[in-house]
């Protein structure tokens, strides 16, 4: 049985590329909007789905997990932490923080390599 060798064009997860993709998605959905309780469900769903769709279009052999948190801007803070058990040579993560006048948005992307 022959082994399938992955094309070695790039090793590891390209966080910059993912960062740009996600930032564009957020700008597209939330840009110019104010925090609105009625729309917030729809906005998070769009951000997450669009980010996923664009990440898949990169055509890399990865499984993706995209998390999005949208918070109303206030005097209070908000903490997020993540801990990952994976293969750091091939898997990676990227976090995008975005804000405007009325809200903050944090998107985490985790990418786990598929060995074909």
């Amino acid at each position: 049985m022959e082994e399938y060798h992955r094309p070695c064009d790039e090793v590891g997860f390209n966080a910059d590329e993912a960062h740009n993709i996600v930032k564009e998605c957020i700008d597209g959905v939330l840009g110019g909007e104010d925090y609105n309780q009625n729309n917030i469900n729809q906005w998070t769903a769009s951000i997450v789905e669009q980010s996923l769709a664009h990440l898949v279009k990169l055509g890399k052999a990865y499984k993706y997990i995209v998390t999005c948190a949208v918070v109303q801007r206030s005097a209070y803070g908000f903490h997020t932490a993540s801990s990952c058990f994976w293969d750091t040579t091939s898997d990676g993560t990227c976090t995008v923080r975005w804000e405007n006048r009325t809200m903050n948005c944090i998107v985490n992307v985790f990418a786990i390599a598929i060995v074909l």
Binding site: K63, A81, D87, V96
Partner: protein, 259 residues
């Protein structure tokens, strides 16, 4: 946002790196912490790189030190050590490239305490701030052999992990009030504790991601959602929300099967 302006300097991230190896599997653990703040671009990236190379600590470590698991570097297999060098260098290399907020700037490598439950595995801790070990083999990736398995031998126990999340969150947060510095530390601690406990379940060939969100219960509104592109037959997640009078906490564990 008073709690964030007080933390200056490099990005507020922490990383821990350790290698858990066994005869067949080799994974690296990475802990990342992020918190809401202003997006920083290349200036932050440069500061981050300098802080990283100097092995500097940020003010994150001023709070109470989180409990750590031990890292006995006993009887490491030769492949394990190579892998940890390679992986560390890869990590170093990939981190150096990052200038966005997703990169890391402080190092958290204190691991103490007993860790003796894995029978056929070794654990080592490697620090992020020694770029001196440069290996030519760092550019090679590990080629995995075919397992000839159609699926996982043991499925991920979602109910047990739900219970773990509930126990951990309740134990750590039952009596706590929301405070910025304390909760910053707590999120990192809790995510590591959750990861460690789920690892101890010894479900083979599963990669784990534990994400913890903590925030105050005030009049502000928040929505947290996630979507995953994976193989739904084998991959799954587990989630728990904890609330008390002054704060809420959400813990998610994603389990991805390594085929």
């Amino acid at each position: 946002m008073r709690s964030f302006t007080s933390v200056g300097g490099p990005e507020d991230h922490a990383t821990t790196l350790s290698v858990w190896g066994g005869p067949k599997t080799l994974f690296e653990e990475v802990t990342l912490e992020t918190h809401r703040g202003v997006q920083r671009e290349s200036a932050g990236g440069r500061r981050q790189r300098e802080a990283w190379e100097a092995g500097a600590w940020t003010s994150l470590r001023s709070g109470r030190p989180p409990p750590r698991r031990a890292a006995p570097a006993a009887a490491a297999l030769p492949q394990v050590m190579t892998m940890s060098d390679m992986a560390r260098d890869r990590m170093a290399h990939s981190l150096k490239k990052r200038t966005s907020v997703s990169s890391l700037s402080s190092h958290d490598f204190r691991r103490k305490g007993p860790h003796g439950r894995a029978k056929d595995s070794v654990s080592t801790v490697s620090y992020m701030d020694d770029p001196s070990q440069h290996d030519d083999a760092s550019h090679l990736t590990v080629q995995m052999e075919n397992t000839y398995q159609m699926g996982p031998t043991k499925r991920f126990p979602v109910a047990i992990v739900n219970r773990i999340l509930k126990d951990v969150l309740t134990n750590y947060l039952q009596e706590e009030q929301y405070e910025a510095e304390l909760c910053r530390q707590l999120t990192k601690t809790i995510s590591e504790v959750i990861k460690a406990q789920v690892k101890d379940l010894m479900v083979p060939r599963y990669k784990l991601i534990a994400v913890v969100h903590i925030g105050p219960r005030t009049s502000q509104s928040i929505l947290i959602g996630s979507r995953c592109l994976w193989d739904p037959k084998n991959d799954t997640f587990s989630s728990y929300i904890f609330r008390n009078s002054s704060l809420f906490a959400l813990a998610n564990v994603y389990a991805v099967y390594f085929e």
